[in-house]
Symmetry: C2
Subunit: 416 residues, 2 copies
C-alpha cells in the first residue's frame, strides 16, 4: 500500500474566534492511491461533477492522523487507532480508496496547537487562538486542496470525529458524496458538558498548569491531565462493560498503587482492578498528550452545535445532496442512540437518503473502536452502495428478524 | 415536638480495621418522644420481645444528624436534609415515632473523624483509623444503648444510608422490625467505584491536601474537594434531569466564572448554566465538609458488600425476621433499580416479607431527597403496616394499572 506522511503549511489561518495565526501547519497521512482528477476545487460545479476515491477520516478527541499505523511516530491509543477498519481489504479498503487523515488544529500530533511554536519560535501556550470544530473542518478542506483532492467520496468519523463528519455535510455539502458519523451527535448533552467541564477544572487547578504556561517547567500538569483522562475513560465505557471487565475485584499483586498520592488509612482497602486500569491508562496518556490541547479540544467539542446558524438540524444539512449513515451503539451513554436518531430525523426531513444503523453492544462509546466486526460491514457496504448497501440497516425500516422497529435500546444499558 | 441534640462519648471504640480510639464521640439528634421500655439491650430475647416507637434514620454520604432541621448548626445540604419526610404529620411522623439520627464515624458534624482531636488534643488527620460501614452500624447500636433504646421499630436510610439500613438487618437482625433502604444497593458497581476513586484522587493530588495534614495550614484542599463534589453531583442527577434543568444554556449574566482558574482562550466559549450550578454547589460544599472525611466515607461506602462474610446476600440477611422495603428510582444510575431488585430477591429467598417499590422519576439518585411526595406514602404506610401497607407496591406483584410486572425501567433513562 502506498502511504504518505507529512506536514503542510497552510499559511495564514483565520479562526472562527476572529483570531488568526500566520502559519497553520497540518500533519496528515494518506493511504492508497488517489484516482480522482486533481482539478482545483475552484468552482462548485467542478466539485459536484468530479468524483474521486478520496475518503477523509476524522479522528476522535485525542486521536491522530495515524489512522492505520504507517509512517507516524505517534504512540499509545493515538497510533493506528482504526487499523481494524482502514487498510487493504478492510472496511475502508485502501486498495480501493485514497484515505486521508489529518491531525486537527489545537491538537498535539504535528498540527499547530498550544504546544507549537509561533513564527518567533515561542511556544503559543494559551495564546493560541480558541479553536472550534468548524476550524477543524476548514483546515481539512484547505489540506485537501493542497493534496489536489476536490470532491470526496466520503467523510467518515467516530465520536467527535463523527461530529466533524456531520460538519462537512453542513459546511461543504457539495464536496462530499457519503457522510458517515459513528457514535456521534449533533451536540453534546448537559451531562457530558458537565463531565468535560470537571475534567478541564482538574487540569486548570493543577498548580503545574500555571495558567497554561508550563512548557519550560520541569513539571507538567500531569496529575490534572490524568484525572481528566480518567473521567473521559469512564465516559467511554458502559456500566455493564465496566461491571463485566472489572467488577469489584482487587487488582493483581503486581499492580502498583503509586500513580497518585494516598494516605495510610487507604491501605486498609483493596486497590481495585478498575483503579489499576484507570491509573495505567492515565499514566500512558499524560506521556502522549498535551494538557492545553485537552482544554482546547474538549471546548471545541462541547461548543459544537450542528444547528448553529440555522433554525434547526434539518436546515443545517438541507443543502447536502449526498447520503448519510449514522452508526450508534446501544450501550453508549456519551453519544446515545437517541442522539443519532435525532440526526437521522434531520436528514430524513431534507429527503437525503439516510440510514441509522443501531449496533447492539455492551462496550459503551468505545464500541466504535473495539467492535470492528460490527462496524465494518455496514461501513464497507455504505461506502460501496450508500444506504442501499446490503449490510446497512435503518431504524426506520422494520427489523427483518424481529418484525419490530426502533425499540427501546437502553434496556441493557444498566443491566448487570 | 420534643427534640434533643447532643454528643455522647461512647468510650473506646474498636474499628473493623483492628485499630481503636480511646473516645468515640457521636453527635446525634432525636425528634419526638420515646415510648418504648428503657431496658438494656442485654439479651436477645429482651430485644426481640420489646417493641418501641424508635426509628433510626441513617444519613447519606455527606449528610448529618440534622435530619429535620432542629437544634443543629449544620449548614447547606447537611441541614434538615429530610425535612420533607421527617416531622409532625409527615411520612416519618414525629408525633408517633421517636426518630434518632446520628452522624457517622469518619464524618465531620460532631462525631469523631479525621478532623477531630485525639485525647492529646491533636487533630487526628489521616491517623484516624480506617472506617467501614459496619463501624457506622456498631456506633449506632452503642448510641441507642446509651439512649435506652433496645429494639427499633424501624431503620430507614437513603443512598449509602440505605446500605447502612441493610447492614442493620444483617448485623442486628433481632433488633429491628422494619428495614427501609431507599435508593441503595448491596454494593457499589464498578462504574461508581471508578468515579469515587477519581474523586479521591482529585483530593489527594491537591497540593494543599499535603498527605492529609492540612489542618494547621492557611489553605485547605478546596480545589480537590470541589472537584470530588462535582463528580458526585453528576452521579446524583440523571442524564435527562440534567438536560431538562440545564440543557446547553449559557449561565445568566450574574454568574461568576471565578471558582476555578481559567485561560484567555476559555473566554470565547460560554460559561454554561450547568457549570455555574456545579461551581456554586462546590463552593458551598467545601465550606461545610472536610476533605479527609470525604476520603474516609467514600472508602467505607465503596468497600461495603452486604454479602461479606456470607455466601451471598440472602444468607447475609437470613436471620432477619422483620420486613423490608426497598425503594428505588427509575432514573437513578448511581444505585439502580436493578440493584434494589437484587436485594429484594435476597430477602425473598429467606421468606422475609419484602416489597421493592419502584418509583418512576427522572430526578436520578437525588429523587430520594427531591421527590418526597412519591417517597412519603409508601414509606409511611410501610412503617404503619409493613409490606401490606396500602401505598406499598412490589415488583413481584402485577401492576394494577398496566397488568405487566417488573418492566424494563430504564427506557426513560436516557431520553431527552
Amino acid at each position: 500500500m502506498k502511504t504518505e506522511s507529512g506536514t503542510v503549511d497552510l499559511g495564514r489561518f483565520d479562526f472562527a474566534s476572529g483570531d488568526e495565526i500566520e502559519n497553520l501547519e497540518v500533519a496528515y497521512e494518506t493511504y492508497g492511491e488517489f484516482d480522482g482528477d486533481s482539478a482545483e476545487h475552484g468552482s462548485a460545479s467542478d466539485r459536484t461533477q468530479s468524483g474521486s476515491n478520496a475518503v477523509l477520516v476524522c479522528h476522535a478527541l485525542t486521536g491522530s492522523q495515524n489512522v492505520a499505523g504507517y509512517g507516524s511516530e505517534t504512540t499509545g491509543q493515538a497510533r493506528a487507532w482504526w487499523n481494524d477498519i482502514v487498510g487493504p481489504g478492510k472496511a475502508i479498503d485502501t486498495n480501493e480508496y485514497y484515505v486521508v487523515c489529518a491531525n486537527i488544529p489545537g491538537s498535539c500530533y504535528g498540527t499547530s496547537g498550544p504546544a507549537s511554536e509561533d513564527p518567533e519560535g515561542e511556544v503559543y501556550g494559551t495564546d493560541f487562538p480558541p479553536v472550534t470544530l468548524g476550524d477543524w473542518t476548514r483546515s481539512q478542506r484547505l489540506l485537501l486542496d493542497q493534496l489536489g483532492v476536490g470532491r470526496l467520496h466520503a467523510v467518515v468519523g467516530g465520536s467527535v470525529g463523527g461530529m466533524n463528519a456531520l460538519d462537512w455535510a453542513k459546511r461543504y455539502p457539495d464536496d462530499v458524496r457519503y457522510v458517515v458519523s459513528v457514535a456521534a451527535a449533533a451536540r453534546l448533552d448537559a451531562q457530558c458538558l458537565a463531565l468535560d467541564a470537571v475534567a478541564r477544572r482538574a487540569i486548570t487547578t493543577d498548580p503545574n498548569w500555571n495558567g497554561g504556561e508550563y512548557y519550560d517547567q520541569d513539571e507538567r500538569p500531569t496529575d490534572g491531565l490524568a484525572l481528566a483522562r480518567q473521567i473521559g475513560h469512564i465516559m467511554y465505557l458502559s456500566k455493564s462493560s465496566m461491571e463485566q471487565k472489572f467488577g469489584r475485584r482487587a487488582a493483581g499483586r503486581d499492580a502498583r498503587r503509586d500513580s497518585f498520592p494516598s494516605d495510610p488509612a487507604a491501605a486498609f482497602f483493596p486497590y481495585r482492578d478498575v483503579e489499576s486500569y484507570l491509573d495505567y491508562q492515565a499514566e500512558k496518556f499524560v506521556d502522549r498528550f498535551d494538557a492545553n490541547s485537552y482544554l482546547y479540544l474538549t471546548r471545541a467539542m462541547d461548543d459544537y452545535d450542528l444547528a448553529e446558524g440555522y433554525e434547526d438540524d434539518a436546515r443545517a444539512v438541507a443543502a447536502f445532496e449526498g447520503e448519510a449513515l449514522l452508526l450508534s451503539f446501544t450501550g453508549d451513554w456519551h453519544f446515545t442512540t437517541e442522539q443519532s436518531e435525532t440526526v437521522a430525523a434531520a436528514f430524513r426531513e431534507t429527503d437525503a437518503p439516510v440510514a441509522h444503523h443501531v449496533i447492539e453492544s455492551d462496550h459503551g462509546h468505545d464500541a466504535f473502536l473495539v467492535e470492528p466486526e460490527k462496524v465494518g460491514p455496514p461501513l464497507r457496504d455504505f461506502l460501496d452502495a450508500g444506504v442501499e448497501g446490503r449490510a446497512v440497516h435503518d431504524t426506520d425500516e422494520p427489523d427483518a428478524d424481529s418484525g419490530t422497529d426502533f425499540a427501546p435500546v437502553h434496556a441493557s444499558l444498566f443491566s448487570q
